[in-house]
């Protein structure tokens, strides 16, 4: 199988990249491991506040529907339920449909593999009933299954606030939110107020000491100023933040740089969202963890510049569009968190000075 542009991942960034490339007449293939398009947007029932200026405010799943419709109106080949498992010696991508593995030759690759949630370790954190906050949201909003009846949330990010509200509305009693810092991390004060109106207590300067239970979690100990508070429950949702998924970049021998604010290690890339490999672009959370609005814009930039590299768009036009889209990222990301935007600028400036270029030492 051959294609002009292979896009890995059908989340918000992969889908906007697909629309940008396919609408310019290129042959585009998306490979997506799940059976539906939209990535993590599918279970976001909250209104997404910080979308690009050319989008109306929408709930996550509504945005997913809209992007899916846009992609379906083009001639994009969607390989749902397919995974990239590695690369052949000649550079073809090894794709599996779970029955076979076949090679796909792509002129350009846009990697939009997203981010994965990070764990927080404490004694007995491996007990059933203890899960990441994203897993709890997926159970509730996508699978329509209540993760439990009585929950505690570890973390107070904006996302943790969203999920706390959704769990409460779904009938889960959120007994507490626990934050190790001195203040709540969420920046959306309206949401923090909603959480307190729901009667959910938020404990700052606190951390989880241990969980207990036979066969599943039954209670946890929260430590606050050397005092221990024991809470009986059946669900613990842990928000450890997210970090970019990098396996594909590693296999492609891309170089990496470290930016804490963007999720840790991320591939090096230039202002055109191209990695240090001429044929590999990237987009979305894989290029640094950010808000959904920013993810959409990075997908557009990667799509435009992949199109330019295949001659489907003039260099001048691509540069003009890219510059104005970077302004959009600046607006959205500064509003989200100026530190994230500064890290992104630093990262792109570091493009000429990669940190990890040769780590293939056995």
């Amino acid at each position: 199988m051959e294609t002009d542009v292979l896009i890995i991942g059908a989340g918000p960034a992969g889908l906007t990249a697909a629309v940008e490339t396919a609408s310019r007449g290129l042959d585009v293939t998306i490979v997506e491991e799940s059976l539906s398009m939209g990535g993590q947007l599918i279970q976001q029932t909250q209104v997404l506040g910080s979308l690009p200026s050319f989008y109306q405010p929408k709930r996550g799943f509504e945005l997913a529907q809209r992007l899916r419709k846009l992609v379906e109106d083009t001639s994009v080949r969607c390989l749902l339920g397919h995974r990239v498992i590695g690369f052949y010696k000649d550079g073809s991508v090894g794709i599996s449909d779970e029955a076979n593995v076949f090679p796909l030759k792509a002129k350009k690759i846009i990697v939009a593999t997203g981010a994965a949630e990070k764990a927080i370790a404490f004694p007995k954190w491996t007990l059933p009933g203890i899960m990441t906050i994203g897993a709890a949201q997926t159970l509730l909003n996508r699978d329509f299954v209540l993760p439990g009846k009585h929950a505690v949330i570890i973390g107070t990010s904006d996302f943790a606030m969203d999920v706390a509200l959704q769990l409460s509305e779904g009938g889960v009693q959120v007994k507490a939110m626990v934050e190790k810092s001195q203040t709540v991390l969420a920046r959306d004060t309206e949401k923090v107020n909603q959480v307190s109106k729901m009667g959910i207590p938020v404990h700052v300067n606190s951390s989880i000491k241990e969980a207990r239970g036979i066969g599943r979690v039954e209670e946890i100990d929260i430590e606050q100023r050397e005092q221990i508070m024991t809470i009986p429950l059946d669900t613990v949702c842990v928000d450890g933040g997210r970090s970019p998924i990098l396996d594909v970049f590693y296999q492609l021998e891309c170089s990496f740089g470290y930016q804490r604010e963007l999720g840790g290690w991320i591939p090096q890339y230039n202002p055109f969202f191209r990695t240090d490999r001429e044929d590999v672009f990237l987009a979305g959370n894989a290029a640094g963890v950010s808000s959904q609005g920013v993810l959409l814009v990075t997908g557009i930039i990667a799509g435009i510049n992949a199109s330019e590299s295949l001659g489907a768009l003039s260099k001048e036009e691509a540069e003009i569009k890219t510059t104005s889209l970077w302004k959009e990222i600046e607006t959205l990301e500064t509003k989200l968190d100026p530190d994230v935007w500064n890290a992104r600028i630093r990262h792109v400036q570091n493009y000429e000075h990669p940190v990890l270029t040769d780590q293939f030492i056995s």
């Binding site: 491991e33 995974r83 498992i85 590695g86 593995v101 764990a119 970090s243 296999q251 804490r260 780590q359």
Partner: protein, 109 residues
Amino acid sequence: MDKTTIICRCEEISYEEIEDVISIGARRFDDVKRLTRCGMGPCQSKICSSLVAEIIHDKTGLPFPEIPLPRMRMPISPIKIGTLTTNSTTFSSVKSVLDEVELEDGKVK
């Protein structure tokens, strides 16, 4: 942290075991992996790599940009050997672990 806390769920490696190998010189995820089997189970370090980096940082003071990523090998996620070989007339061209080993005079460099 409590020493018995599990860090690698797949291989059931505790905080104490990781602390021990750091005390004898482990400074990156792959050092810890080779000494303890941490990260060698089904998830291939997808869950524990950031936890281990944090422990290395806490114990040695090494800044995060100096704690490299674990090596990520083909296949990117678990796949049945049967699936990997089906329909493949060019199986030998799949990038294998052996491709990464450099030989000198018939011996591994």
